[in-house]
Every structure is written in structure tokens, then in C-alpha cells.
Subunit: 264 residues, 6 copies
């Protein structure tokens, strides 16, 4: 079976820079996969992407060096398995707030006896190889999103859950859960401290700590803070920002902010 | 943020005529959005429409004056949020029969602290504007479908649920729940009375009462009965009926009924 | 091979009422095919339909009693054959103005030695049957659109062209070619006379005369005028009109006209 | 309503050979439907198929003699109904392990009062006929997958569940649940005995027993063992195997096995 | 009919900054349309975009302030008209090298008597308004690509062609035609001079001069050189470059170049 | 740039076994690409595949060892280039019957000065590498289909055409052109001789000779006859035949022939 290179990078202490796809296009997926990301995540939660589109994107990622991951829209038994069958080498699952949820999520990613994944690897065989079943439990990553106050309180237990390979911080929802405005890199001291603590906790547990960031610069800061896997914005934000910058350069003006509509 | 004009119409006592889409096509969605409907609903429950198709339809509706709504296939945390992120300005949710279900549904439509919607507004920003997050909780409509005997019994409590903006009656399923044949405008006295009572209850609660109808004429009667929002059939029925009428006119015959197959 | 029932209707003097699809949806295609049309045409010229969508629509029509036809976007060798391979039982080809163009078009619809269609019947085998090749030349209809002044002058020769099964009048473009405003049922005497003459010419030639109409009533008039095949509007117009009528009925107003934008 | 011919075959003791679709293509669905299968199942669990693709495939199957079935990804209220509305004449539901789950699943497939299916038959009307509602509960099949040790223990009770028309054995997951390597025709004596017992139990209950097989030959053995419905591999496996055989014949070599990647 | 704001900008001497789409996605189209571009072009020549995808993209652009344009894959009668019917407000046509080709191209964009566009405006009515036909010839832009040595020689005559609204320089193909390596901003003196001359010639003719550029900075230079319409790269290049920059910032390295494969 | 391994195989005298795709699915494309074919061809002529679908299939093939090729629907300037831009490493072009057509076809596949391909390599860069432009003319294959009596007469001249890398025999159309029934392996002595002569002529010219076959066994015979590249049937035929064989094995009957419909 094709190795999941993210595991080796984690073992080597090498940072993982992860791309993030909200645009339902196999071509933009393939483009992103060729830019140098260690992994690229197809986002079925906040991306404009359903299962039919996700399969095409995972196929496109398969011809790139990037490890294909997917974020599910919820901790759903069927969706997790469908995306693994479609060739995802790891699942990022939102809103894991308790050890019970963490165990359930992990069980969806592993075949019995370790878990309850149903057999039928489909594209897993094409991307992973004919010996997929023998090694899938070892290669596939299960990353639990920490994005509530309750999850923070349970972080150690979640990290200790067998089959959970790491955590992935959703900073916007975490801010909301702490009563703050959503911000990928909130200046709020409590939120900032909590996020730092999560990286440290993952380090202590010998597991992966990932986080969504608003830019490459912010991602660099998160790596310095102890995170192993950073996502420097999604494709939609990268494209929009690059478009505005190009327009500004062409017009000789400062890059515009997206205007607010007149309703308010 | 772009205003949800349905709220103003409700405040003004202006009736809302709502289009309904079962055909998975962005072009027919756009066509419908330009005909004068106040809102148009993408139906992911009984329509032949999955998420990938729904996004394209919501995009098409965005260039029309009609407010884009969506009916979800069930009260699912993930699906409600995905459709809001995709730009729906309101969710119609089937089978809300208890105050607990109503609260849960409403919570999926609102950001914390009011609810538990996850942050990532995607197309919401494009359709709504850059200040989407600040106003989304106010603009987005949560309409609970009343379509069981239990829901009727709980109607007042459902209407009193914070965050529920109104009810939407599913007359076919309501008939079934009362042991009657499904009919949008059932002649059954009990069902007829119950539906009238629902409009009145919504009026008392200062919330919106919507209902699915089989035709424009039936919709007019429902408005007279006190409903604020009426759906005069879906696109599939409108198209089929218009097709049969055109054929009949061409042939000089009476419009045909869809023939029954010979199996029975 | 499955018979092309349009031929029998023509032989019987039975009118052909034809549906017309501009919406790229297999579901609306299937709906239309079940309403009683003798044939339904997938329009790749002015419809919002490319080849990938057309195949799905022809598949959907295959489960209905309607004979599946396609209008190509131009007299293109490849496109005509692709649509026949995809199961169309007849091709309506725009802008046939000379006998040479007519011969060329007909040759695209027939296998050698009668024509130059390339072998590879694909869905033709599924819809038509395993003996498709033996009978396709006989069953498939080639209908040449008459829509220019030049075509009118050449109508007799076009109708006399071997392999051309009939003509199909495009009244809007015909009006334009005669310097009149486009109108399906133009009141202009010259255009009206020309169109009537075309039906008569086809009758004399023993071939089919079809025409696009704006409504069922107009279609009835065309049948009375001698046309054999009439199209009472397309799906988009039927749906839009039905939508406006339903809204008007719901609001208790007269059906609206689509408003003109303020640019002019 | 069009009859579900599978019921008659079961009554006649005629075997049911079922096709299985993992490739998201309406054309390959239609091809399979024309090869002689009694039914063809669209697999939304391990197939690379979301709802939007499934609808197109069910449409394509509608023009073939094969009865259209669907396997859902999980026992989900909404998905079961959506697929029935999309014209499936039967649902195969994974992971039914208890009578409670069996009752719930069956209730999703029937209208009240027998079940809780929501009204809105959509394509059901097109494929089944205008009297769909009157007969759907009788025609639609609900097949519960037996694929866990718990399900085996509960098999008699599951088979006795009103509304459950039969069982469908998932041999790979069953192997896993018994601690064996997944294999469609496991040589493990306990698994082999359990599977044989399931066929016998279904026979005693007067209900259908189906099973997934790895080949036509294996399917024949299962029929001999007492199964009524057999699936001789899915489209992906048939195509891959046929491709390898053709290559081997062309090269004059033995058919290759899919190579294992070098990671392990 | 909705005005084509590009005409006003040209009349006002205001520069036109044009976006360019090679990614077949309605969501990325919509994103680009909201960033401040005066127009956005769907590229059916070198973009990964067929007609079915292009329609969805033009629909998405319709809800943005950007004027929707399309580049056709060749000067094809049918394709030009299909894209205008799909709502494009202008066509950029490759490889116009002679006045005859220019006349032909222009004729495809105009209704008779000015041209030979076939009637059937479809989405034109939805985006443009009900009076589309009356004004389409005035609003729709026909931009001829100058990208061969022959075209350069004929530039004045092409610019003088009635119905041609301007030229659009394809610098890469122009380089190739002059025997130079393709480069959007070639340092080759002859090519550079030729391009400058083209802007001047358009200015003298009172017509629009557009050009493809590799970046916002290069676009600014082209505006200074006399071009009216500049395209600062396409979406694929913007996204890829933004991705590489984000990765570099995250890793603290210099942005990478796309690596060359080892074949050579 | 990634090497086109077909060239090396030709130089080595190693046979090329080519897969053929008529099913518009990226998953079946990927499956086929993993079975051991040296190349796989996406068929846009007789396959049910438009450009949008073809791109997804070429992407899927990119993750397999098979060289991605495409057959165009006709010798169209735009379509040839679009498919090369989409990553095809070779084009098979139908109906090349004269040296002039051969030159034209070859010119579409090469950049100036060798040909007239327009610059914009898109997916070519992703599949081929960043140095695509420097080597594309060398790597990309142009294969001219010989399938008319005229082409046979001109075979030597076509093979001598600079830029034409070989011929590909279409035996069905060739039969038709010789007045015989279409058959991949016609027993007609003249056709059989002509096909053998074509292989020999290609050998003498040092160019590739390919041919479509009905099975692996027939392909083996063609290799023995001197052909270098053989296609043992397409995916649709492989799947249909495998399906019928599986059904027959399950039923214990002889494999069925597709039944002829009762129309004739």
C-alpha cells in the first residue's frame, strides 16, 4: 500500500503544510496538489462540495504528490467511510467534543476489530494498492476537530483515544464557543492561550496537532507555536485575495476589501 | 448584508408567493426566479436534487429578485448548515413535531451563542455581503414543517420556540398522519380545520405561516385563510401540466391525465 | 429495431405534437416525455445544453413513449453522428438553405453507401435494439430547417433531396431573413404566405412539414394549415408561463409580463 | 402501477440475478440493465455514487427490463425516501442488526399508517405510474443486510419483522464481524455455516434471501445453497477483470493480478 | 436591456480590468466576479471548460457586477451563438487574421440584417432583460484576437471591420507566429513594438484594445502603453501562485517553481 | 517533461495494448488505467463523452501508468488542441483520407513553426511537467485513422506526412467504405488484405500502425499481422460481455445475445 507520507513527516518532526479546497472542481484540486502542499483537504463541511464532486477531486489529487484528505460535514458513519473508500488517506471530523465522540469517530475509520468500517475499498485499492485492506488501518489518519469549550476541557482524553491520530483546531468555531468573534488568529488572550495549550497537549500525547490559519504567515507562527500541520487559508480565499491584488496592481490602487452590501 | 425581503413582506402583511424546485437544473431555477416569485425554494427532500446540484441552483437564484430558500431532506445538522453556507436565506425543515426538535432545528440556523451553526459562510458572503456574519442570525429564516398529528398538538409550543420564524404546513403528510389520503387541499373536515387553525396560531404568535398548495387558485384560497406564504405547486407539476395543456390545445382535445400503467 | 412511430403517424396522416427541451435536465426531459408528446426534441442550438447533458436527456427520454429527437447547433458532421449514436431517432438541422447543404446533412444521417455516417452506434443499440445497424437508415429522420429566404427559394429542391425526410420551419429566423421582426406566428403577409407554401410543398413532396409554434393554440392552427409536426413552445417557455400564471392566480392579479430592465 | 417483477420471481421460485453498480455513470447503468439481470442495484454505500449521480442512473435503468434497486449508505430516513422517490423499487440497507433497526428501516419504506415515508413520489410516478401511491407499499422491497454477528443472532426476528421483505447477506463485513478476513466466499467453516443458515432461515420465513458474490460461478453455488437473489460481482470488478483478461489475451500471457504498491 | 458597462468605460477612457477563467467551476467564477473585475471571461479555448460548464459559470457571473464574456475555442458559428444565448455580453474570438474572418466573426454576433445570428436568446433574456433582442446588437461586444503575423499585417482592416468592437492581443501565440518563444510580455523588440502598435492602431480606430498579461503589474504597464482592457493572468495561475506563496510563507522559504519532471 | 512511453515501446518493438473508453466516467477511466494497458483512449467520437466529461477522465488517467490518449469526433482545430491542453499525450483522428487532411491534422498537434497549435497548455503542464512546451511536439502522438477506400489509396502519402506518427485503422468504417458489412475482423478477403497491407506500409515507413479489435484474441492476431498498437474492444463491450457471462454462469445457461426488439 502506498505510504501516508504525513506519518513519516510527523515522525521526522517535519512540518505539514496542508491545502484546503472549498471550490468543487477537480482541476483546481489538481492545481493545488501540484504546488507543494504536503497534503490537500477536500472540505465537505463549509466547502461547496457534495460527494459526487468530492470523488472527482480525490481522483485529481491522486496524480499529485499531496496526500488526499477530506473534512466531513459531520461525524457521520456513512460519509466517513464513503470518503475513505473514495481514496482519502485521512479524515478531519468537525465538532468532536467528548471522548465518546472521539472513539466513535475513530471507529468509523478502522476496520474490525479495531473499528466498525464497512468493507468495500473501491478507489482505496486504486490509490493505495491491492494490499489496501492489510494496511489501511495503519495508514489512514483520523483527526478530531477541537472547536468547542467542551472539547478543550476534554482535549487530553480525546488525544488519548485509541485510533485518534491527532487533533485539528477550528479556531473560528472555538472563538464562538468562547463567546468571542470568529477569527482564525484571535487576539483574545484566553482563546490564544487555549490554542497554544492544545498544541502542547498534542505534543505531550505524541499525536498530531493541526490548525486552520488565515495565511502563510499565520501558518508559520502556528508552526513556531508547536503545531505540526497548518492550513494557510483555503482555495477560495487564496483566489479571491490574489484576484483583488492583481486588480489593485493593474489599477495602481490599494487592494480593495469586499464591499458590504447596502442592506445594513 | 443584503436584506431578506421576506421579513419585510411579513411585517407589511404582504403575501409571499413562493416557487418550488424539484428539477435539478440551474437554468430552470433561474427561470423560475425571474417570474415574479417572492422566494424560490430548492427542495432537497422530494426534489431530485442533491447538494452538488443545489449549490448551482442557489447560485442561479442569486441573480434573480427571488429570495433563495431550501428545504432539507431531514433535520440534519450538517445539511442545514451546508445550505446556509451555500447562500440559502432560509431553511424549511420537514417533520418538526416537538418543541425539542424545533429548538434543535433553530439552533442549526444560528451562530453561537444563539445556536450552534458552525462558522464558514462561503457563498453566504457572496450573496449576502461581507458583513454576513454580523447579520445572518437576523436575516436567515427557520421554518418548521408541521405535518404530523403530534406537530399539530405541539404547534403553539413550536411557534413559541425562539429562533423559529414560522411554520410551513405539509398538507400531504399531514393527511397521512390523520389517516386520510394525501391531498394538498383535502376536503376532509378535520384536516381542513386543523390547517386553518395552524394559520391562525401562527398569526397569534406573530410568526409566518406557509403552506404547499396544488395551484395558484388554491394558493389564493390559503392566503384568504390567513396563510402568509403560499407555494402554488412545484416546477415539475407546473411543467407537466403546461405540457399536457399545450398538447391538448394542439390536438384539440381535453388535457389528458397521466395514464396509469397496466400492472394493476 | 424499435420502430420510429413518427413515420407511421406521418403515413397515417396523424398529427405529430413535439415537445422541445432547452433546460439541461434529464428529469425535466423525462417529465416532458411522459405528458403525451409524440416526440421530444433536445435542442443543442438555442437550448442551454451541451453534449454531456444531451446524452443524459436522451437516456431519460428512452423510458418514455416519446420518440427522442435532437436539434444540432449546426450542420456538423461530428455532432449529427454523436447524437444519433446517443440514441436520437431523428435530427433537426438548422440553416439548410441549398440542395447541397441538404444532401450533406442527409449524408451525415445515413451509413454508406447511402451516406457517410461513421459506424459505432453505442446507445443506438440500447434504445433501438441489436439490429440497429440493419434498419437505422430507414428509421432515423433527417429534418432540414428552412429559415432563410434562400432556403424558401430552394424548398422544392431541398424537399426532393434523397435522404431528407422533411423540413422544419424556424419561423423566427425566417422572419429575420425576410427583414421582419422575429415572431413564431408573424402577421406579416409575405412570411405567412411563405410558411403556408412550405407546408403545401412538403405535402406535394410526400415529406414531413414541421414548425415551431408559440403555444398549443398556434400549433393547432399550423396543423390546420397543413403542417404534420408542431412544437407548441419549449419547456422553458411553458414553465415560465405556468409560473407567472400561478403567481397571478395566487395574487389575484393579471399574469405579469417579464419586466424590461432599466438600461433602456 | 408497474409491477415489481422480483416479487413474482420469488413467488415462482425463479432465481434473481442482480447487477451491482459502483461506477457513477448513467450509460454503464443502462448497459448493465440491458444484459439480462433481473434487477440492478445502485450502490450508494461503497460505490462512488452520490445522490445526484444516483438519480441519473435510476433514470437510465428505467428504460431497461431490470428492476431498479438502491443500496443506501446507512439506515437514514431521508436517503431511503429520496431513493424511493427517485424511482428505486427496492432498498438494500446495510448493517441491520436488531429487530428495532429492522422495524425502523421497514418504516422508512412504507407510507403511513404502515410506516413513516413522507409523501412526494416524484420519479416514482414516472417509472411506476400515476397510481404509484396506491400500490407502492406493496411493490417496494425492503431488504435488510445481515452482516454482523449480532444480526446473525437476530436473523429470525429480523426476518419476522413486518415490512421487511427479505435479507441480503454482506459476506465481507460478516467475515470481519466473525474475526475473519473479508471474503465473499469465505472457506471459514463457521462463516460458511452461518451463511447457509441465513438462506434456510429466510426460506422458512417465506422471505427473500440475497447475497453478494464474487463471480457468476459463485453466484450459482449460492443459488444451489438456497439463496433467491445473487449478485455476481459489481460493474467495477467485472470491467477490471474483463480488461485484464483482454490484455492477457492480446499479449499472450496469463491475466495479471493488480500489482501491490511498493510502500509495504 | 441591461447595459454593457464596458462600452461606457471605453467611452469614458476608464481602464477595463478583466478576469479570466480556466477552472470549470461556477463557484470560482462567482468568486472572481465579486473581486472587482470590470468583466470576467470564461475561456473555452485553453480553459478546461466545455459548454455545459460554461453555462453554469455564466449564470454564476450574472449575480456579480462583472460583465460576463466568453472566449470561444474557434471562430465557430454555432459556439459563438450558443454562448451569446447563454448570456455572454461579449465574445473574444481567437485567430482572426484577415478582414474576411473578422467580418464573419462579427456577423455571428449580430442578428440580421447586420449579421447572421440565429434567434433564440434563452439566458440572454434572463440576464439582459425582456427587450434583449432590440438592443443585443448594440450591447454585445465582438473582440477579435490578433495573434498571428498575418493578423498584425491586417490589423487596420480588421479594426475597420463593421461590427468588430475591438481587438484582443494573444501575446503567446503572437510570439510563436514571429518565431519567438511564447511569453506574455516578451522582451523581443519586434514583438514588443508590434504589440504597442496594435494598441495605437485600435486607439486611432476608436475601438477597444485588450491584451492578456501575466500579472497585475504587467497589466498596469499595458494600460500605460495604451491598452484599454487588460487581463492580469487567469484563475489557475492566480491560484497556483497564491498557493506557492502561502506554502513558502508557511515554510519560511522562497516560493517554489513548479518542478520539471525527470523525463528530460 | 514526462516521457510518452509509447514511443519507447514502438522503438523497442514492444506491442502496445490500448484501452478504449466510451463510458463517461472518471472512475471507470481510472479503473481501466490500472489494469495494465499501455495506453487508454478517451473516445469523443462514438463514446458518450463530451469535453467536460473527457477532462475528468484524462485527470483520472493521470494517476495510472497508462498513457492518456483521445479520439476526437472529427479533425477539428479547436477540439484537437483542447484535448492536448487537457493532458492527452496523443490524438487519434477519424477520417483522414488525403495527405492534405493528414498535414492539417498533424499541424493541429504541433506548436509553430512545426504546426499551428495555439499556446495555453493548462493540464499539459500538470501531467507533463513545467517544461511541457519545450518537448510537447516530440512527445505528443498524432495518429491518423485510415477508414476509407480513399485513405487506403493514399496510405503511403499519409504515412509519409511529417508530423503524422502513425495510422490507426478503423475496420468497421473501412468495411463500409468497401461496400461490406461493418466488422472489426471482417472475413472479406479484400478488406483483410487491405488491412494487412496497411500494417506493412506503416512498418516500411517506420511509423506506428494501430487498429481497433473486437477482443483480446483478435488483438493478438493483429499483433501477429504486424500491427504495433491494438485495442481489444472498448469498456462498454467489455462490461456488457462480462455482465452477460456472469449472468449465464449464475443461471447455468449459455451467455445470451442481446435480444433484437420486435419492431422488425
Amino acid at each position: 500500500m502506498r505510504r501516508n507520507t504525513l506519518r513519516q513527516r510527523l515522525a521526522d518532526g517535519a512540518p505539514i503544510v496542508n491545502g484546503w479546497l472549498a471550490i468543487a472542481s477537480a482541476y483546481s484540486a489538481e492545481l493545488m496538489g501540484h504546488q507543494g502542499f504536503d497534503s490537500v483537504t477536500v472540505d465537505l463541511q463549509h466547502g461547496m462540495i457534495g460527494f459526487d464532486a468530492a470523488v472527482a477531486m480525490l481522483q485529481a489529487l491522486s496524480s499529485t504528490p499531496a496526500v488526499p484528505l477530506a473534512r466531513v460535514s459531520r461525524c457521520d458513519y456513512a460519509l466517513v467511510m464513503q470518503l475513505l473508500d473514495a481514496g482519502a488517506y485521512g479524515i478531519i471530523c468537525p465538532m468532536i467534543s467528548t471522548p465518546r465522540e472521539a472513539r466513535e469517530f475513530a471507529s468509523f475509520c478502522r476496520y474490525p476489530p479495531a473499528g466498525q468500517r464497512s468493507f468495500g475499498p473501491a478507489r482505496g485499492l486504486l490509490y493505495g494498492g491491492a494490499d489496501y485492506f492489510a494496511h489501511a488501518d495503519t495508514e489512514v489518519l483520523a483527526l478530531a476537530m477541537i472547536e468547542t469549550r467542551e472539547a478543550v476541557a476534554n482535549a487530553a482524553a480525546i488525544l488519548a483515544t485509541e485510533g485518534v491520530d491527532g487533533i485539528y483546531v477550528g479556531p473560528n468555531d472555538l472563538c464562538l464557543s468562547f463567546g468571542r468573534a470568529p477569527a482564525p488568529e484571535s487576539a483574545d488572550p484566553e482563546v490564544a492561550r487555549v490554542i497554544g495549550d492544545l498544541a502542547a497537549a498534542a505534543g505531550r500525547a505524541g499525536k498530531m496537532a493541526g490548525i486552520f490559519c488565515s495565511s502563510g504567515e499565520a501558518a508559520r507562527d502556528r508552526l513556531a507555536e508547536g503545531f505540526h500541520m497548518v492550513t494557510p487559508g483555503n482555495d477560495a480565499a487564496l483566489l479571491a485575495r490574489a484576484g483583488r491584488a492583481a486588480i489593485a496592481a493593474a489599477r495602481g490602487t490599494a487592494p480593495g476589501a469586499p464591499a458590504s452590501r447596502s442592506g445594513y
